[in-house]
Structures are given as C-alpha cells and as structure tokens.
C-alpha cells in the first residue's frame, strides 16, 4: 500500500485513458466505450481478475440480498427449532438437505448465518473505509496544500499513530467507547462504535498518499493559474486537486476494505466487536471455535472459508486495479 503511495508521487496523472483525456471529465457514452477501453481489455486478459471479480460478485449478491436469497432467516427466532441443532452438513452422515452447510448449537442454518454475517462484515468494512477515506483525504489535502505548521502537526499525529498497529488503536477506541457509554445503550450503537474504531485506526495511509500527490500537483500550472485568478483555497482543493489525487486513493480503498473486514473479524473474534445478536463472520467463527474440539467443525470452518474467499477476492481485484491503473505497466 505504501508502494501505491510512492508511485503516486512519481506518477501524478493516473486517471487518464490512452488518449490522455481525463476520465473524470468525460461525460456520457461511458458504458459503450467501457468494453473497448484499456482497463477492460486488461481485465478480459487477466483470468485471476475475472475469477476474483466473479467470486466477489457472488459474495456481494449473497450478502446484500441475504434476506431474500438465504434459505432461512437466522434472526427470526420463531423459525428456529432446537431439535435441528448441530446437524452436520448435507453430505455428511446425519446431514439434511435443508441445511446444506449444517446447523449451529441453536439450530441456525450455517449457510444463512454466513450470508447474514457477511452482510454485517461488509457493511462495517465499507463504512469504516469510507470514514477513514473521508478523514484521511481531507487531512491529507489540507496538509499537502497548506503546508507549514498545519502540515507538520497533522503528519506528526499520523506518524505517531502509524507506529501502533491498527488493531491496537481500534481496541483502544472500542474500549474507551465501552467505558463511556452506559451498558444498556451499547448493543444499539455497537456497530457505529466499531465503524468509528476501525475508521479512525486507518486514516493515516490515505492522508499520507493524498498529501504526497497534492504537494506535486499544487506546483502544476493549472493550480497556479487557478490561484492567480483568485479562486479560494477551499475550492482549489475540492475542484482541482481532489479529482487528480483520487486515483491511488481508490486503489488503496479497495485493498483496505479487505483489511477492515479482517480487523472487524478480529475484534469480533476477541468478543469486543458486534453483539452476538447481530453476528458477523468474526462472531460466527468465535462461537464455532468452542465446538472445534468436539468434532462439530462445520460451525466454525465454513464462516472461516467464507471470510477467506471474500477477503482474497477483494485483495485480488484491488491488486489488478492497481496494476491496471499504473501507466508504467501497460
């Protein structure tokens, strides 16, 4: 990820197609030209990218449409029957075709639980990356454009935070929030706290990347011209610099979604993440972990596999995107 940042500093003009036209400014006809564009050419030529995109699409569809496509609703207690508990996967002895991946200790269908859990994992992943991006890009733009003391302060805070692992900072923020909030209010805002904790732990990378690009861009003629004709710094940052520094940030964000999902799973596995009533993949893995010694492996293995597939797919798509958007590799 630091690589992306470094490269951004060397190659500031990223989001352009082969004609040198800036994509962001191009209006209609995008779909029609998309298929023949360089990016999609490289996509079609790259089987890893195709397979991982398909895997990711399946994950996304399964997660976002879980209430409609899942075989059961694990949150609807009325449909649960304890008699169904601990049914092995369909192909094992004692398995039943209604519960393809088996059931957990409460009789919940593991497949449905994974779909609903992936939903929460993705939600937390996306929301926390959006928060980190918003914070990081804003601070990075300010630091890079204004410079001086403000730059020094923002970047020293970033340096200090970078010296701690993100998971530690997320744990700290989560712990503080738990101490401050009354216990009974906690389950309601647990998701928001988690998003905040992961988001605040990850803004630094964005700030560093954007600051680097901004420092290069602000010396370019178009920025100087804008300044000469009296456009306010705020407007210059928003309208002129932002579109030109977003390329590497988007790549970074894609890769970071995977990291955020893993962080969420780690926190939930440690028991400080989402409440058990809204199980994410990490919570499912933790609960299933208790049954690992006793041979009921499906309760924890399948959520684990789902997590690996999802994170791997996001990472591979992100990798491909990074390469595809890098003019040096064309």
């Amino acid at each position: 990820m630091d690589q992306a940042g470094d490269r951004a500093r060397e190659e500031p003009v990223l989001l352009t197609d082969s004609t040198g036209e800036v994509i962001v400014t191009r209006a209609g006809g995008r779909l029609a030209t998309a298929w023949t564009s360089d990016i999609f050419y490289s996509f079609r030529r790259n089987p890893v990218a195709v397979v991982s995109t398909i895997a990711l699409a399946v994950c996304l569809i399964a997660a976002f449409f879980a209430p409609w496509v899942a075989p059961h609703n694990p949150f609807d207690l009325k449909t649960l029957s304890l008699q169904d508990a601990l049914t092995p996967p369909a192909w094992e002895q004692g398995g039943r075709s209604v519960f393809v991946l088996g059931t957990d200790d409460q009789g919940r269908d593991v497949l449905s639980a994974i779909m609903f859990g992936a939903r929460i994992s993705l939600l937390v992943g996306l929301a926390s990356v959006a928060l980190a991006m918003l914070l990081g890009v804003t601070l990075g733009l300010i630091a890079g454009y204004v410079g001086g003391k403000i730059d020094a302060i923002i970047m020293r805070i970033a340096d200090v935070q970078l010296s701690f692992p993100a998971i530690l900072i997320a744990l700290l923020i989560d712990g503080v929030a738990r101490a401050v909030l009354p216990r009974d209010a906690q389950t309601g805002v647990a998701l928001a706290v988690l998003v905040l904790a992961i988001g605040l732990a990850n803004w630094v990378q964005y700030a560093r990347t954007v600051r680097g690009s901004t420092m290069v861009e602000k010396t370019k003629e178009y920025v100087q011209a804008a300044r000469v004709i009296g456009i306010t710094p705020l407007r210059i940052m928003r309208r002129h610099l932002l579109p030109n520094v977003m390329g590497p940030v988007l790549v970074l964000a894609t890769l970071n979604i995977a990291t955020a999902i893993i962080t969420e799973a780690t926190l939930s596995f440690l028991g400080v993440g989402v409440p058990p009533t809204q199980p994410s993949l990490g919570t499912l893995i933790r609960v299933g972990n208790d049954f690992l010694f006793s041979g009921e492996w499906w309760i924890t293995i399948f959520p684990g596999i789902a997590l690996v597939i999802m994170v791997l797919a996001i990472n591979l798509v992100g990798d491909w995107l990074r390469d595809a958007l890098n003019p040096k590799l064309r």
Binding site: K78, Q83, D105, F293, S294, G295
Partner: protein, 523 residues
C-alpha cells in the same frame, strides 16, 4: 528383603516424599470469584475459593457429613438455644488468636447491610459469649437444623477487619470495594498470596494450620478462563492441572485422552428462571401499566413453551435432569411424587397467552449470565427462540457474572436465570431464600422476582422448627406443591458436574460443586 534393599527403598520413598511435599496446583474455572470478602456474595465459586482461606464453625466432610472446624462440638441445650465449644489454639494468618469475639463479630458482620449471606445467620437471634472458647447461640424459633445451615458463614478476624476499615461487608451489588475485597486473613489451610481480579489468584499453604491436611499443595494458582476451547486447550497442554466445568461438547473427546481424568457426577444445583411478580409495571417490557407476570396464565404459558427435553439433548448433551422442583434429589425434603413437569405444549401455551390478553405476545428483557452455570447463555438463547413461538420477544442480555450478579441481586430485572444449591442440603434453605416473600433476616433474599404466597410464608417457620421428620416432609411437600401450582418460578433442570484434571492429581468431587484444596494431592 535385605537390609540394603530396604534402605534403598526407604531412600527412594523419602525422595518421592520430598518431591511430593512441595506441589504446585493450577486450577481454572470459567469465571472468577468477584471478591475475597466471604460475606459479600453468596455464590458457590466465591465461597469455595474464600473457603480455603476462611473457615466456618461447622464444615462438611467428603460425604457432605457435618465435621467440626472452628467449633469442636455443639449441642442443643434448649429448644431455641445451642452451645458451641470453639477450637483452642487456632491462629489467624496474621498470627492473632481466634476467640469467641471473632465469632460474634462475624455474626454481626454477616447480618449487616451489604452482606449477601444474611440468609445463613437469619434464624439466629443473638450469640452470647460464655468464655473465650464457648458461645451460646439463641434462635428466634426452635431451629433443629442450625448446624447444617452455617457451613457457608465464614469467621473473620475482628481485630483485622476493624483495623482495616472492613468491619462491614461492602455491597458487591453496588460495585463497592474495601480492604477485604482484595486481601484476606482467615484461619483456613491456605493463605491468600496475591489477588489480581479476573487474572489470577494465588494461595499458599498455611504452615501453622491447626490440623495436618492431606494435601501436599504448597501453592495453588487459580485462573479464570472464560473461553471453553481455551480452557480445554490449557488442560491438554498441561498449563493447568484441573478445570471445571468441562464443556459438554468436549467430554467424550477428553475421556479418550490418557493423560486426563474426567469426573462426572450429579450436582445438587437446580437451574431455574424467575419472573418479577411484584412491580406494577415491568422494568424491561413493552407492556405498560401492568405486569404480565402477575398473571399465572402467562407464567404457565412460558413454562409450557419451554422444550426441556430439547435443551437436555441438544444443549446439555444428556448431562442434565429436567425438574419440576426447586431442589434436587438428595436434598432433604425432595418430594419425588411432585417432580412431574407440566407437558411441553406450545399450542396450549399460545392459548393461555390469548386468554391472558396477550394474543400478539409482548417484549420482555431477560438477564442471563454467560460464565456461571453450564451452558447458561446457550440455554437462555434457546429459551428466547422457544418463547418466540408464542410471540414473546425476548431481549436477551447475556453477560459475565461480574456485572450480572450486581444487576439481578438489586432486583434490576424482569426475567432472569439463576441456579441454586441449598448449602444446608435441606429444602428449608430453598424455601427460605428463593420462595418465601422477601422479609427480614435474609428471608426471600434470592426470591428476586418477589413471588409471594402467604401460606408458604406461614409454613416456613413451622418447617424450620418441626422435629418430626414425617410431619416436616409433609409441610415441605405442601409448600412445594403450592409453589408449583402458582408457577412461582420456571424450574429447568439439575445440571451435572463435569471436572477434568491431569491424571497425577487426586481430589474429592462434592455434589455441591465445591473443590476443597485441603484434599487435593498432586503426585
């Protein structure tokens, strides 16, 4: 055998004895004792840990028979009067001598505000000092089972408590602490060395103990390990020597491990659900202006909606005995003929809910510990799902007992799960603490939903003072029948004990789930 061989054998024996003499014993439970103050919480684990440090007047032996500890003998001198002769030459861990004053002080302390063990000293009216080592105990009513009921009331040092501003127990329900929460000074076979709440508690053997104990343990380290899989792994890898409870799903697996011994046995603990039946409006419910639990039909609907057999087979993996009584077989006064559960019948339950005026059900908050009883939070989750079928939406709050007990003991609950072992092994204790209306001297102290039946309240004192076994049992049965007919609580089951240890450890498993260090031998 030649003299040489004999000498060699003797040397070998001595060597063995020398190594066996100093032993480290590391044991784990799913939760921690909340405090080191023996009067602050009436909970088996806490009383078990602190009971190695502090002692009662009368204790229990390996077959749960009464044994003399700080009292050497006792007898009833009049219907309401008992004389106890105290043990001479006993010293507290700080070296100060034990006398009758300490007993009287501990009595006052145990019945003071903030004490959670009031129920044990409740029948006592006063304790009079005859001389340094003799006391007279007067009860308000004739109380023939007094010696049976005081084994969880531990004696503390008057001088030490007063010096340390710990003359009264602080209320664990309000999260308060004093010196006795973290330090201890008892007369028991073990002394508290270090205490780190939630991390570990280290006990060392008391070299000046008044009796030679079987145990060769010189240092005992207690660690709470909440996660089941971690606790099992710690035992398998010999990081600990003994742990309980064994997660039920792992019992079979651990039995096949040659390095381990699994001890299983019936436990005297009854697990049940309680409901707030006194407030006019429940604290945690969607029903406003009235309390649905005051209606017997609602309580019965809840009872009949619970599929106890499914809980037994799926969650307890067979290691439970469903019950309709609040006491287990083996408790004096257990009435087998009353131990028939109402049938599991969701349709009948739904009908009762409709009759009671809740055709669409209602919402209710449920409190549940997740590290106290065997699979406690799993049971609560399953019950929440079962109640959903009669349209009751349960908002489950499952939490560690460190926060759970303070909450429910201050009656800050509408619907809760609790387990109870009568420490006197007598039904009167269950009636007095769980079923009779909350009142003076610890009566109904653990009747957290304030269930109330005047006839049972009248029977209680009669049961306590009745000497004739048959008459007494008949009254106990009547009280249990009234309670069952009222559906005063929702009894679930008696759980089974499952302990696991390394095979070089020998200890005594008691049906009250106490593991006394004085009987632990590590080879």
């Amino acid at each position: 055998m030649t003299a040489l061989k004999r000498a060699a054998a003797l040397v070998a024996l001595l060597l063995l004895a020398a190594t066996a003499d100093a032993a480290l014993f590391r044991f784990a439970d799913q939760g921690d004792a909340i405090s080191m103050d023996p009067h602050s919480l009436n909970e088996t684990l806490q009383l078990n840990i602190t009971g190695n440090i502090y002692e009662p007047l009368v204790g229990r032996g390996k077959k749960l028979e009464l044994i003399p500890l700080l009292a050497t003998s006792w007898k009833q001198t009049a219907p309401t009067l008992w004389r106890f002769n105290l043990r001479k030459g006993v010293k507290f861990h700080d070296g100060s001598p034990f006398t009758a004053d300490d007993v009287i002080f501990s009595y006052e302390r145990a019945k003071s505000e903030g004490s959670d063990v009031k129920t044990y000293v409740g029948p006592i009216k006063e304790i009079r000092r005859v001389d340094d080592f003799t006391i007279d105990v007067a009860t308000t009513e004739p109380f023939p089972i007094l010696p049976d009921t005081i084994n969880s009331w531990y004696i503390m040092s008057k001088a030490w408590c007063e010096k340390n501003n710990a003359a009264t127990p602080v209320d664990v329900r309000k999260g308060k602490e004093n010196v006795a929460t973290m330090k201890a000074n008892g007369t028991g076979p073990f002394m508290l060395k270090t205490r780190e709440p939630g991390v570990k508690t280290v006990l060392v053997s008391n070299p000046n103990y008044w009796e030679k104990v079987e145990s060769n343990v010189t240092e005992a380290v207690f660690t709470p390990i909440k996660n089941d899989a971690t606790r099992v792994a710690a035992l398998i890898t010999a990081e600990i020597d003994m742990m309980e409870p064994v997660p039920l799903q792992d019992v079979e697996k651990l039995k096949s491990n040659g390095d381990l011994v699994i001890l299983q046995g019936p436990e005297l603990r009854t697990i049940f659900l309680g409901m707030d039946q006194s407030r006019d409006e429940l604290l945690f419910s969607s029903v406003k202006g009235k309390n649905p639990f005051k209606d017997k039909r609602v309580r019965q609907a809840f009872y009949q909606a619970i599929d106890i057999e499914a809980i037994k087979t799926r969650i307890m993996r067979g290691a439970s005995t469903p019950t309709n009584l609040m006491v287990a077989p083996g408790i004096r006064g257990f009435a087998a003929e009353l131990n028939k559960r109402l049938p599991y019948d969701p349709a009948a339950a739904k009908k009762l809910m409709v009759e009671a005026g809740y055709p669409d059900g209602f919402e209710v908050g449920m409190n549940c510990p997740n590290d106290r009883y065997v699979n406690d939070s799993l049971i609560c989750q399953a019950i929440a799902a079962m109640l959903a079928k009669i349209d009751v939406k349960v908002n489950l709050m499952a939490e560690t007992k460190v926060t759970y007990f303070p909450k429910i003991l201050s009656r800050n609950t509408s619907f809760y799960l609790l387990g109870w072992t009568p420490s006197s092994y007598d039904s009167h204790n269950a009636l007095f603490a769980l079923i009779m209306s909350p009142g003076a001297n610890g009566q109904g102290q653990f009747n957290l939903g304030s269930y109330s039946n005047k006839r049972i309240d009248a029977l209680g004192p009669q049961i306590a003072s009745e000497l004739d076994e048959a008459k007494r049992n008949a009254m106990i049965a009547e009280a249990f029948k009234l309670h069952a007919d009222d559906v005063g609580h929702l009894p679930l089951h008696q759980q089974a004990l499952a302990w696991a240890m390394r095979k070089n450890v020998s200890l005594v498993q008691l049906a009250d789930n106490n593991n006394w260090l004085k009987w632990v031998v590590v080879k």
